[in-house]
Amino acid sequence: MSKLFPVQEIGSLAKPKWRTKGLRQQLSSQDLSEAEEWAAKLGIQDFHDRAKSILKTANEKERVKAILELSTLYGLRLFETSGVDNDGVGGEQQRVEMYEHVIKAVQGMNLLGHVHSFDNKYFNKGVAESKISRKHPIYVPEFLDVKKYAHRAVKVPITGPYTLVDWSFSGYYVQKQDASSAKTRKIEAKREFLLDIVEEIIRPEIRDLVDAGATWIQIDEPAVTTHPEPQEMELFVEAWNETVKGFNCKFSDHTCYPSEIGYKVLAEYAPKLDKCDQLALEFANRDTSRLGIDEDSREGYSDLKHFVDAGFSGEFGLGVAHVHDFTGNVSSGAGQSVGRDLIESPELVRDRLLFATKIIGDPAKIWANPDCGLRTRTWDVAFAKLANITKGAELAREAY
């Protein structure tokens, strides 16, 4: 990217009501009224033809396919209209969510039910019940739809192998271990499970994506900083390097919401990650909501130093907008708190980018992005946040 501070999305957007309902049942024209409203905002020219076709078809498979394709198109246009410089995959409209979408395609794994993540958020947790294999391609059908409609570079986010294993129960893999200590059995099971996920699931998927034309794959590994012990970090590096081996493609890592020393530890191991061109990290969540490029105002970005000190030489995707509920105070000029949302002002985004530049040194290495996918925010809020990130990046560019 030639301009400074290009803006990228990280992955998900909320699923529109018509998309969720339409996968389960026939829609009425009333159900599509929200889609019609957004069609005008996003410049979806052929909305009425598509809507007619969706309403007319009695074939469930055709309806679901048309709705997934349309929602993907909407996601792509939302990113484009808000000024984002890459198209992503349209907000991951074709995925249930980052974990379950993959696990459903894995032979040998079973989803057991939901467990608490935080507040009223949960995730469906799977268990390995036998040796695993891939049932069918996971991201390729979505990518083929995206390719049809994307106007700019496409980055394909995929869930990383370490995270898939860490968020699953090892089941079969732990029961087959014979070490006497429970702790050792768990560690050995994790390595075996992880390397199977890499070889049997992730590498075949990347091969298919690259063959289909993917040039940039973002590997989402939020779980990696969960276990900052050296043994676990080495395991992550081993799995990453095995994952990317032999592929001619840009790779980036997205890791968010680390443990207390998570980023410091990730920084130590980041230079060991083969072909890792970018680290997209979450910072806004831990930052203040006041303007300024001094260390106190930008306390949330202090961990960046660790990556620079450790010698990571790639790009940084800088989290400059919060993606969860916000209940704190916002200083004058830094943004607007609306209900449970914070809409960061362009000036706050600018200050975050400029402060990060002071640490990283080279502004050409910095992308601006939300902390994580925006699936927990409404489309109005997601649009407003992305538009302000775009404006904030423009303001930051004025400093150069």
Binding site: L112, G113, H114, V115, H116, S117, F118, D119, N120, Y122, F123, K125, V127, D166, W167, F169, S170, G171, V174, Q175, S181, A182, K183, K186, A223, T225, T226, H227, P228, E229, Y257, P258, S259, E260, I261, G262, K264, N285, R286, H322, H324, D325, F326, T327, G328
Partner: protein, 327 residues
């Protein structure tokens, strides 16, 4: 030696309650609908404990959004903040308490800690709270210059919470102190003076009724700290047997303390066999002559779906019968 089984923290919500809370988030269900389901499920958790022969009853803490929040909201000088931090090495998060002023007990509503109204028939009630050391370690301190002051103020404030909960009929308090045994979340290794401070804060907290407290450790090896824990003036000590190797204990250690054995793994879906649980408890008894054994999960069961959590409790109950049957 007597034997008991207990809940050791937050019990998982059912799929029905999960769906309702999600609907509430999407403004498709009212909070009162959630409350009705919460109440019904709390009754079911209590009923399950009755059917499995529990002696101390918990309400399952189904309404707790994380392990710290009710305490955070009962303290003055502490704000909930907006930052979500990872709960140790799990895929769950908690709202990080931000310490912005001198800590003291604030507006304590016992209902936020325990549904005492649903536990009317039961004599002994148990509540799980974060211990002062763990609470302080998982908070962000923006006020205190001296860590000891912070730690002891938390202990004093928690003592007030406990006093209020005793009025609600609580007879057993589990102080969860995973930070005493789990290290990787921090940069510098805990030194002896810090351990002494932590234990001092616990002593301060329990001083009014030491016999009502169990200090529960999990997610780390308790063996190195065990002698110090056993010196605390408390009823019992809890250890995570998936992190602590029984063989590392001294031969035939005798203690007047009760031991809470975290002998089912709250982070693995595999339901432990009752015979294996009983054998493990026997092996422990051969090493440690404890006043009482409590069989429990190693930490909150909220890390597994509810159906599995309930099966794990049933396995504990069967193991307890096996142990009692074998004398």
């Amino acid at each position: 030696m007597s034997l008991e089984i207990q809940l050791a923290g937050i019990h998982p919500r059912s799929e029905k309650l999960i769906e309702l809370t999600r609907s509430y988030e999407r403004a498709k269900a009212s909070w009162s609908q959630v409350e009705v389901q919460l109440e019904q499920e709390t009754r079911e958790v209590i009923k399950l404990q009755e059917s499995l022969g529990f002696k101390h009853f918990s309400d399952g803490a189904l309404g707790w959004q994380d392990q710290l929040r009710p305490v955070t909201r009962a303290l003055q000088g502490v704000e909930s903040g907006t930052r979500y931090s990872r709960w140790f090495d799990t895929n769950t998060f908690y709202q990080k308490p931000i310490i912005v002023g001198k800590i003291s007990a604030g507006n304590i509503d016992p209902k936020n800690f325990l549904r005492a109204d649903l536990l009317t028939k039961e004599r002994d009630r148990k509540v799980t709270l974060p211990g002062p050391y763990t609470f302080s370690q998982l908070s962000e301190n923006k006020h205190y210059k001296n860590y000891a002051d912070l730690l002891f103020d938390i202990a004093t404030a928690e003592r007030e919470i406990i006093r209020r909960l005793k009025n609600e009929g609580v007879t057993l308090f589990q102080l969860s102190e995973p930070c005493l045994v789990y290290q990787p979340y921090r940069e510098s290794f805990r030194d002896q003076s810090e351990v002494d401070l932590a234990l001092g804060a616990i002593r301060s907290l329990v001083k009014d009724s030491p016999g009502d407290f169990v200090v529960q450790t999990y997610f780390g090896d308790a063996a190195p700290l065990l002698p110090a824990l056993l010196n605390l003036p408390i009823f019992g000590v809890g250890i995570d047997l998936f992190e602590t190797d029984i063989s590392s204990f001294n031969e035939q250690e005798k203690t007047s303390k009760a031991f809470v054995l975290g002998v089912v793994d709250s982070r693995e879906s595999f339901v432990e066999d009752a015979n294996w649980i009983a054998d493990t408890a026997r092996k422990f008894s051969e090493k440690v002559d404890a006043r009482q054994l409590v069989l429990a999960s190693n930490s909150d069961l909220k890390f597994v779906p509810q159906g599995i959590a309930n099966q794990k409790l049933e396995a504990l109950s069967k193991a307890s019968e096996l142990l009692e049957g074998s004398g």
